[in-house]
């Protein structure tokens, strides 16, 4: 047993940390925290990261990676988060699935571009009637010689307005008896005629999108996996990354900020006596979640199932709850000042706490609701029966 990163991982951590300390300037951070998401400064940074092979450390060297493991990926995610750097999650998720399900031509065509920070993907799963029940997507793809013609609507496609490609789950067989057997996955150029992207703004002010398809044509070679085999592809995208996240530098930094705020602003110890123990509880949750995640990630790198098969999903579930508790507690510490928005007079901590508090529900809903996560853990991890 050993809980330390390997020398190679430590070196990678140092490299990406120092890189981001230097390159992730306030323009980039402002874009990350803005309503619109990625902008020109972010794009520039991503290309620089790509040039240094910092975006996809886990991929094979031939596709622009470093051939490292899930732990390197976890280190990267942690550093990106804690620097408020842009987060090219979707491209990496797509690439992971391509590595498993794509053909050689697709891999060569897309992976190096993603790794360089040139190609951005937006995930196109959810539809108005297909939320947690992803298998019921209706966006129709009809074969027409060497193309497919797409018609329908996607929703909550967060990166669509600045991405190059859509990773699109479609229905190719509406008569399939089991609905997840009639799906196919396409990579669609978002500049294709017939695509309309409309902004949708969350209550935290973040931009996401509705994407409408009207007679959009996509060449057959952009289909990933088999026709009607789209379910396998997205399962690989969702769970194929393996690992379990892990490091929680960002969350620990928020805790530090709050501790500092409490020590400076809340000196009335008697009245605020609840704060130390509560913050300690949050720190403990964060630390335990981090250790769980690190273990799951290390098991993934060894290609060994962790005990009970719970793996990364279990640590992510804990992390989701921790996040919600953390920002609720933060708002309580700020008291009436907590309700003040970014550019208000008297706003504390730049309004970041309020922003995160408003954004908190998204974390337990998006990327598969917590209920679905629990179903996956219960049935896959613990082997409980399904209805």
């Amino acid at each position: 047993m050993d809980f330390e990163l390997t020398p190679e991982e430590k070196a990678f951590q140092k490299e990406i940390r120092e890189f981001l300390d230097k390159e992730c300037n306030e323009n980039v951070v402002a874009e990350t925290l803005s309503m619109e998401g990625e902008g020109p400064y972010s794009k520039e940074l991503l290309r620089k990261m790509g040039a240094n092979r910092l975006l996809t450390p886990r991929w094979p060297v031939e596709y622009g990676g470093r051939g490292m493991g899930a732990m390197a990926e976890a280190i990267k995610v942690d550093e990106i988060n804690s620097h408020h750097a842009p987060f090219p999650l979707d491209g990496v998720e797509v690439g992971n699935a391509l590595l498993i399900c794509g053909n050689e031509e697709q891999k060569k065509r897309f992976l190096p571009g993603i790794a360089r920070g040139d190609i951005e993907f937006a995930l196109g799963y959810s539809e108005p009637d297909a939320g947690s029940d992803v298998a019921s997507v209706q966006l129709r793809a009809v074969e027409d010689r060497d193309e497919f013609i797409l018609n329908g609507q996607k929703i909550y496609n967060t990166e669509a307005h600045f991405s190059d490609y859509h990773w699109l789950l479609t229905r190719t067989d509406p008569s399939a008896e089991k609905k997840h057997r009639g799906l196919s996955l396409f990579m669609v150029d978002l500049k294709s005629p017939g695509i309309t992207i409309r902004p949708l703004i969350t209550s935290a002010g973040l931009r996401t999108n509705e994407v409408f398809y009207e007679d959009v044509r996509v060449p057959k070679e952009n289909m990933v996996g088999e026709k009607n085999g789209g379910w396998t592809v997205i399962m690989n995208a969702l769970y194929g990354g393996g690992g379990g996240g892990g490091l929680a530098t960002g969350t620990k930094r928020v805790i530090d900020t709050l501790v500092k705020y409490a020590l400076e602003e809340k000196q009335d110890a008697d009245e605020n006596q609840w704060i130390p123990e509560t913050m300690a509880g949050l720190y403990i949750r964060t630390h335990v979640g981090e250790l769980m995640g690190l273990r799951a990630t290390a098991f993934a790198d060894l290609n060994v199932s962790p005990p009970y098969g719970g793996g990364g999903a279990v640590s992510r579930l804990l992390g989701g709850d921790t996040r919600r508790l953390l920002y609720n507690t933060a708002m309580q510490i700020l008291g009436p000042y907590g309700q003040l928005a970014k550019d208000s007079k008297w706003v504390p901590l730049n309004g970041e706490i309020l922003r995160e508090y408003m954004d908190a529900p998204r974390w337990t809903i998006v990327h598969g609701s917590q209920e679905i996560q629990k179903l996956v853990i219960a049935t896959r991890g613990l082997g409980l029966p399904r209805r």
Binding site: G131, S136, W346, P361, S369, E371
Partner: protein, 380 residues
């Protein structure tokens, strides 16, 4: 025991609901969030004409002579539709305090203005500490030639930007104990030396910073006793906390209703999501919170209405309802899924106001400490 509303109260509820459903759609609520005033003067005149601004005041001043419980029912309805504007400030933080402790001259001067919808009031109480305690009142009023001069900064003051009058709570004796040197002044909002800044809040509800710089107030504008009015201020806060809980109850009801309706309709995995046990449990716990809030808010309002002591009940109610509303919006959002975190959905309107309401007149922790004191503990 009789848990029912009276026939008159049922009529009041129905007419208020009908009126507000028509006149206060969510489009107006959204518009007023970004409006400089934050309310519709025309609608304000309409509710004054309906007698709402005067509902709870004696007939001799032109009011409706109805009870605090009646007012609570109206507030619950306003809470359902998220009625924007200075109704709460004017009635709870202006009119009722004047009715409580004003001189007859003051009542005759100000109450008719409130009742007729002419004047908007608010109370300038809290300061930088954000607390509802006597020691937090630092703004100073200094006697000067028989009049007073006020200096200080008040924070989180609701509707101050449109108020015609402030009830300004200031320290008139800084040598006495905290509780013994506080006085309320009725201050004309147009007095020289007052400057106001609207804060940007989660509920976009026009809470303000109000700076008093050498603001002159005539001696006859003292409301109640000189120096010895903190007990009255506490009563005003406690009653306002109860009233706020009735408003919050209305909001919780709507969140529950819309969640239950949604989960009955929303199909996933070929069934309405309301068949899933996790969703059912979310809704059940929302119901527990709504019904608990109703029971305690009504009892507290009934106590105010019937002249019973209500200090403990105010603390119990605000503690419970503050937490309960938070839980209800969280579970409602979780039950809805993605659709309800979009800015154009109604849920965020309630989610944001639940937080603002939690914070006003003391959050749950503040009131739990009060209850702890009543249980016998010494608590800071």
């Amino acid at each position: 025991m009789d848990p029912r509303l009276s026939e008159e109260q049922e009529i009041l509820r129905k007419s208020a609901r009908d009126f507000l459903t028509e006149k206060c759609p969510k489009s107006l609520v959204r518009e007023m969030e970004n409006d400089e005033k934050g309310y519709s003067p025309q609608l304000w005149q309409e509710i004054a004409a309906l007698g709402w601004t005067g509902l709870v005041f004696p007939e001799k001043y032109g009011g409706g002579g109805m009870s605090f419980l009646d007012l609570s029912i109206l507030l619950e309805e306003m809470g359902r539709v998220l009625f924007p504007g200075p109704f709460f400030s004017t009635v709870l933080l202006g009119g009722l305090p004047i009715l409580d402790i004003g001189s007859e001259e003051q009542k005759e001067k100000y109450l008719p203005e409130i009742i007729s919808g002419k004047a908007i009031f608010t109370m300038a109480l809290t300061e930088a500490s954000g607390k509802y305690t006597a020691s937090s009142v630092k703004a100073k009023a200094t006697a000067d030639n028989g009049n007073y001069v006020i200096n200080g900064t008040k924070l989180f003051i609701p509707d101050a930007h449109v108020a015609d009058y402030f009830l300004c709570v200031a320290r008139t004796d800084d040598k006495a104990k905290s509780e013994d040197g506080i006085t309320i002044f009725i201050v004309d909002a147009k007095s020289p030396g007052i400057s106001k800044t609207v804060l940007k809040t989660i509920a976009r509800d026009k809470q303000c910073e109000v700076v008093f710089k050498d603001v002159k107030v005539p001696r006859e504008n003292i409301l109640g006793k000189l120096n010895q009015v903190w007990g009255e201020v506490q009563k005003i806060i406690e009653r306002a906390a109860i009233a706020k809980c009735c408003e919050m109850l209305g909001g919780m009801e709507v969140v529950l209703d819309m969640t239950v309706a949604y989960v009955k309709e929303r199909i996933q995995f070929d069934v309405p999501v309301g068949v899933f046990q996790a969703i059912q449990h979310h809704c059940v716990y929302m119901l527990v919170d709504v019904e608990g809030s109703r029971a305690t808010a009504y009892e507290a309002a009934w106590r105010v209405s019937t002249g019973r002591p209500y200090s403990s009940e105010a603390a119990i109610t605000k503690a419970w309802v503050s937490d309960a509303y938070q839980r209800v919006v969280a579970l409602g959002t979780q039950s809805h899924g993605g659709v309800s975190i979009m800015e154009d959905h109604d849920m965020p309107l309630y989610y944001r106001r639940a937080k603002a309401a939690e914070l006003t007149f003391g959050d749950a922790r503040f009131h739990r400490k009060t209850v702890a004191r009543k249980l016998g503990f010494e608590v800071a």
